[in-house]
């Protein structure tokens, strides 16, 4: 491991020694309305761990899709082992020795591990041979997995293992990983780093895409930083501070969020008592015996790796799943709401922001005006005797846009045209303007640019300061530690007891996220 680090440092310092494995120059790619990659140059050498840093929307994903042959650049040259090539599909990339682990896994839930690996295998082996090779490679790299299991029955960490194994079976020279730790517990992430360092020391180059500065500093020998589709710097992250890299990445200085004093009121706004729920998704997770409460003005964070019951918990709290036979296990303001639907719970003063923005929290194909009406049709006086009051709806939409700094071209604009950050500001604004007594938010800043993320977190804290009880379900530990008063962890459908932020450590929460309860 230390050897490898030395090696990559040498490659870095007198760059002539190692011939570049991959050399991109002047790569440009545009989509309607966006210049995603603007004359990008990138060189990756054999055996180095090279970070590609950038915010959401900086063009990282576009660039790696070009390297993997999924997209064709509009201009620029692609050199592999010092000869100019062009890729028209991923099979060609794999034949060259390029492997890729996707952020949103490219796995098939209804197929087995073995089938999932066989399908990405260009040697067209039969399933039995593939199963044998899986066992062999997974032992060698310490990535245990049962080839006959169906993918939907696996945890997120195990799913990522399949993706990595898939690449390793091809004996890659360059392995691309797109935000691999966003779905892992801190402990799983450090295991992954060991595997990656082993790989690098055996000569495989790794292109590591991330926006998390600390892990880039500990893992990578070189970092190329992208902003708005262009390279703004190439540096050695070990010689930089997280702060300097963040400023390069974001371009403006961000202010830290200040927490106001917590209210000294102990009125229980939201109380969950022994909630059990059977998931209505065959690939979902059942909730077991979940209990917690949130007081007036308090922010409770529920950490956990995706797929441990977050979707089901959100649905149970919002009333999208109502259990008719359940007892008094969900109370809002001391009133049992277990048997109530979404509309009745909203009428109680609760608001919800689900994780999925398009198709759940908002409708792509509808105007901002229509989306403003989506959750407000019962609460505010926008509908009289069944008829829509167009003027009032316009006013509300306008207010959301101006109060929450949503950048738009007008009220009739189709929502699909909003960027991730603006869309989330709009959705959260719509809910906050209803002055909720209880707000339940899932992944509030997921995939959102840093500026918008700060704005959104600040809005949440302001709301809490006005007395609202807030539940935040998030996989982003930084976020949880930044804004929550208490933290609990959801693992395999069960919830740990909550810990105050002051007494919690990232290590401890990380262990809970991985299912280890013992101290």
């Amino acid at each position: 491991m230390s050897q490898n680090k030395a090696k990559s440092k040498i490659g870095q310092l007198d760059g002539l020694e190692l011939a570049p494995l991959l050399k991109l120059s002047g790569i440009t790619k545009s989509f309607p309305g966006i210049l995603a990659n603007d004359t990008i140059d990138l060189t990756v050498k054999q055996g180095e761990i090279h970070a590609l840093l950038g915010e959401n929307g900086a063009g990282k994903s576009t660039l790696v899709k070009i390297i993997y042959g999924l997209l064709t650049p509009d201009a620029g040259t692609f050199e592999w082992e010092e000869s100019v090539t062009s890729l028209s599909n991923p099979a060609q990339a794999r034949a060259l020795g390029i492997g890729m682990v996707f952020q949103h896994f490219s796995l098939f839930e209804a197929l087995t591990v073995c089938e999932n690996i066989a399908i990405a295998d260009d040697q067209k082996l039969n399933l039995k041979t593939v199963a044998l090779r899986i066992k062999e490679v997974s032992n060698r790299y310490g990535l245990p997995i049962d080839p006959d299991r169906y993918v939907h029955s696996l945890s997120v960490g195990e799913k990522q293992r399949i993706e990595i194994l898939r690449c390793l079976l091809q004996r890659p020279k360059l392995l691309i990983l797109d935000e691999p730790t966003s779905v892992l517990t801190p402990q799983e992430a450090s295991n992954l780093f060991v595997t990656l360092e082993n790989l690098a020391s055996s000569g495989c180059a790794i292109l590591y895409i991330s926006h998390k500065l600390e892990e880039v500093r500990s893992l990578c020998g070189t970092a190329t930083i992208l902003r708005n589709g262009a390279v703004v710097a190439t540096c050695n992250p070990k010689l930089e501070t997280a702060k300097t890299m963040a400023e390069l990445m974001i371009g403006v200085k961000l202010h830290n969020i200040k927490r106001s004093e917590k209210l000294e009121n102990h009125d229980n706004r939201l109380q969950i008592n022994k909630l059990n729920l059977k998931s209505n998704d065959p690939f979902g997770m059942d909730l077991k015996n979940i209990s917690f409460d949130i007081q007036e003005g308090e922010v409770l964070g529920i950490a956990g790796v995706a797929g441990n019951g977050q979707t089901e918990l959100m649905a149970a709290l919002s009333g999208e799943i109502v259990q008719n036979d359940s007892h008094d296990n969900i109370t809002f303001d001391h009133v049992c709401v277990s048997g109530m639907g979404v509309a009745a719970r909203r009428a109680m003063g609760a608001s919800f922001v689900p994780e999925e923005r398009y198709g759940h929290a908002a409708i792509k194909e509808m105007s901002l005006k229509d989306n403003a009406l989506l959750t407000t049709s019962q609460k505010i006086n926008l509908v009289k005797k069944g008829f829509l009051q167009s003027n009032e709806i316009c006013d509300l939409t306008q207010k959301i846009i101006s109060d929450f700094d949503v950048r738009t071209t007008g009220l009739e604009m189709e929502t699909a045209n909003l960027s991730g950050g603006n869309l989330q500001k709009f959705i959260l604004g719509r809910e906050i303007l209803q002055n909720p007594r209880i707000l339940i938010v899932s992944q509030p800043t997921w995939g959102v640019d840093a500026g918008a993320a700060v704005f959104l977190r600040k809005s949440l804290l302001d709301l809490a300061a006005r007395g609202c009880a807030i539940l935040i379900i998030s996989q982003d530990l930084d976020e949880i530690f930044e804004i929550c008063d208490r933290i609990a962890v959801l693992y395999q459908g069960t919830l740990s007891p909550s810990i105050t932020r002051e007494s919690a450590s990232v290590h401890q929460i990380g262990l809970l996220m991985g299912g280890k309860t013992g101290e």
């Binding site: 650049p73 509009d74 040259t77 028209s88 792509k364 989506l374 509908v383 069944g386 829509l388």
Partner: protein, 368 residues
Amino acid sequence: MSQSFRFFPKFVLEPRLEVSGQWMILSPIIAIILTLFSGIIIFSLLGKDPFLALYTFFVQPLTTMFGITELLVKGTPLVLIGVGLAIGFKANVWNIGAEGQFTMGAVFGGGTALLCQHMESILVLPLVLVLGTLGGILWGAIPAFLKTRFNANEILTSLMLSYVAVLWLSYLVHGPWRDPAGFNFPESQLFSDYAMLPILIENSRLNLGALFAILVVLAAWILMARTIIGFQLRVVGLAPRAAHYAGFKQSGLIWLSFLISGGLAGLAGIAEVSGTIGQLLPSVSPGYGFTAIIVAFLGRLHPVGVLFAGLIMALSYIGGENAQIEIGLPAAVTGLFQGILLFFLLACDVLVRYRFSHRSVLTGGRCE
């Protein structure tokens, strides 16, 4: 299988930033023009003078007053059913069994008319109309129930029930409801005048049903554009999860879609037998229930659009009849035209949401 093998490599579509309102209107017009061009080819293949055939098909019927009233007569059921289907399709509820609901409207309303054969009261007609509409609602309620209660696919159930409804009518007019004085023909007695919709223009078959169609168009327009129910139907059609999240009752909206479309198809059915035909026959519809699917799409699922689309499709019916009489074209040409029109419409509709990429020429391997 070779992975580099692709169909139509240069044909690149890009999503538009916003739905094109212009193409929304242009698309059906272009589809109609393309269909007329295919008409020229088809008529030539059939050995007819294509321009004479087009004239007899699409122009000649409109040169007489009677022709115009007939257009409205055929348009009435198409618009009534089409409006109901358009509302359902907007909500992503695929009721394609309108033919059956139409037939059941005729059966229930016609049955009432036969029962009241000797009753001389102005109340007979309203009773006939209400029961006819109820018949359609009832037949539409079955797939709605099966969908909401048992999750059964409404496309298949509503269609299967159409076959059942048509066979049921066939049984009735061959058996219990056959006119005893009808020389064993499979048809019912003629309805009494009290059960008939009043004729609007003398010496034509244009009846009060046409007025119903216009009222229904207006009501549906207001419902979809101005009310919370219309908003909920649109939301559930575009994003069912968002509707659920907003607190809209999905099963209620499915029920509503089916009751509206079934009821309107039933009303169309009873208006057809008590306005135009005057008795029950083994078949009361030349496929109105299916043609109305095209009407709904051609009319952009908008009630006013459906009004125009209904008239255009009505023209294809009377044009087909006229061409059969005048130049001996097979009646089936009408059905073929309808199918082709829908194909062209769906193909043109791609341009509402997508546009051809300007860069499609550039992307061809400029990676060097």
